[in-house]
């Protein structure tokens, strides 16, 4: 937490199942299904103990929007989440390489 109502959505912030559902605009059931499909891997054994990195809320929000607008099922949403997470990872790598390599990149 940074100020009273501002939160950085990154790996330092952890969200519970209820918080992730609220942040992403989906139901808790959808989040549970995404975990079942392997698209999200929270720490903690039981849903009540699950802790998600706030970073994943960004992917879940986007996937929910896409799948809602394209009328896709949760299984497709799980795939979209996995791909978005991968894109996010690769973008971070590109940023890192650009920063390190400078003008030669």
């Amino acid at each position: 937490m940074t100020t009273e109502n501002a939160f950085w959505m990154d790996t330092r912030t952890q969200l519970t199942l209820v918080e992730l559902a609220e942040c992403s605009g989906v139901t808790e059931t959808v989040v549970q299904e995404l975990v079942d499909y392997g698209a999200l891997t929270p720490s903690g054994a039981r849903p009540a103990e699950w802790a998600f990195s706030a970073e994943c809320a960004v992917s879940v929000r986007k996937a929910a929007r896409l799948c809602g607008d394209l009328e896709l099922e949760t299984s497709a949403m799980a795939l979209v989440v996995s791909f978005l997470e991968r894109i996010q990872e690769l973008e971070a790598q590109v940023r890192r390489l650009r920063a390190q390599a400078g003008g030669s990149f």
Partner: protein, 321 residues
């Protein structure tokens, strides 16, 4: 009111089956979805395609739309047939007695049909509804990320009225961005999104932050990279050079024999984090040659070339196929 040819927008014939309409919508929605497209006009096209689909996918709305006839061209001014006025007025959230079709959009008409079916009037206890979340892109300078900043965002946000109809409302949002932002990060501002309805909580505002490229520093998370140009003799003999950091200038000791690309780490001299110690600053050695040599410099280089046994391409002979 301007006529819109929903069939033309979706690229289907007027007798297209529900399945064809769905397929056409999905194809176009995938192409123009704001989360996918790079087309600046994509969002507008996506809205248009969505509006067409919302009407044509619903058999009742499609029937009503077809009743308008096919003699109008897209964008042509037209008046709905007799009876439509009454239909619109009777729908919850419909027009007042003094409303004019000129003030309406075609989608408002079909939306009023849905509201009429939902019976969304005052008979039922209104359910609290959480306001929608919004996402806004914000570009910050490195200095903003270091110190934190206040930004003024001018945005057109959709807002729902008491009947559930959507209106775009121009808003200026002042948001404080605390120090410690990094490129590609998102900040959630709780309660600063769309207004909740019937006592529901306000939505959240998400800021998608990017950092404007800086003339000197490149950011990787909270670490910064700075190219430090060195004269060949500084790199060979070692030197003490002054370099800028976010905290001001510092002296950096360049070890003798520094090669191009070597990184020298200055712990804690990178970007501040919201909590904990700042990132690091990496000084990246760059060896640069003077573009114009004096006679004396040229003479010294020649002397060095003759005296040196250094072979920078020695490994070619070993590694060549």
């Amino acid at each position: 009111m301007k006529y819109k040819d929903y069939y033309e927008i979706l690229g289907v014939k007027r007798d297209a089956s529900a399945d064809d309409i769905r397929k056409a919508y999905r194809k176009l929605a995938q192409k123009y979805h704001p989360d996918v497209t790079k087309d600046p006009a994509g969002e507008e096209k996506f809205k248009e395609v969505g509006e067409a689909y919302q009407t044509l996918k619903d058999p009742e709305k499609r029937k009503a739309y077809d009743e308008l006839g096919s003699s109008f061209a897209s964008g042509q001014e037209f008046r709905p047939p007799p009876g439509w006025e009454q239909r619109f007025r009777e729908a919850p959230g419909g027009g007042s007695q003094s409303f004019s079709f000129d003030d309406l959009d075609l989608s408002d008409l079909f939306e009023s049909l849905s509201r009429g079916r939902r019976g969304g009037g005052g008979q039922r206890t209104p359910r609290p509804m959480r306001g929608p979340d919004f996402e806004v892109a914000v570009q910050l300078t490195l200095e903003d990320a270091i110190r934190g900043t206040q930004v003024e965002l001018h945005v057109a946000l959709p807002e729902y009225d008491e009947h559930g109809a959507v209106h775009a409302v121009e808003k200026t949002i002042k948001a404080r961005i605390p120090k410690g932002a990094t490129d590609g990060q998102r900040l959630r501002l709780r309660g600063q999104g769309g207004k909740g309805m019937n006592g529901g909580a306000n939505g959240d505002l998400y800021l998608d932050i990017t950092l404007r490229p800086h003339a000197l520093f490149r950011a990787d998370g909270h670490d910064l990279y700075l190219d430090v140009p060195l004269a060949p003799w500084e790199a060979a003999l070692g030197a003490s050079v002054q370099i800028p950091t976010p905290d001001g200038n510092v002296n950096l000791k360049i070890p003798a024999g520094t090669t191009a690309g070597r990184k020298l780490r200055l712990g804690g001299k990178g970007l501040p984090r919201p909590e904990g110690s700042p990132g690091d600053l990496y000084a990246v050695a760059q060896i640069v040659n003077p573009t114009v040599l004096t006679d004396r410099e040229r003479e010294l280089y020649r002397e060095l070339a003759q005296a040196s046994r250094f072979d920078p391409r020695g490994h070619f002979a070993k590694e060549s196929p």
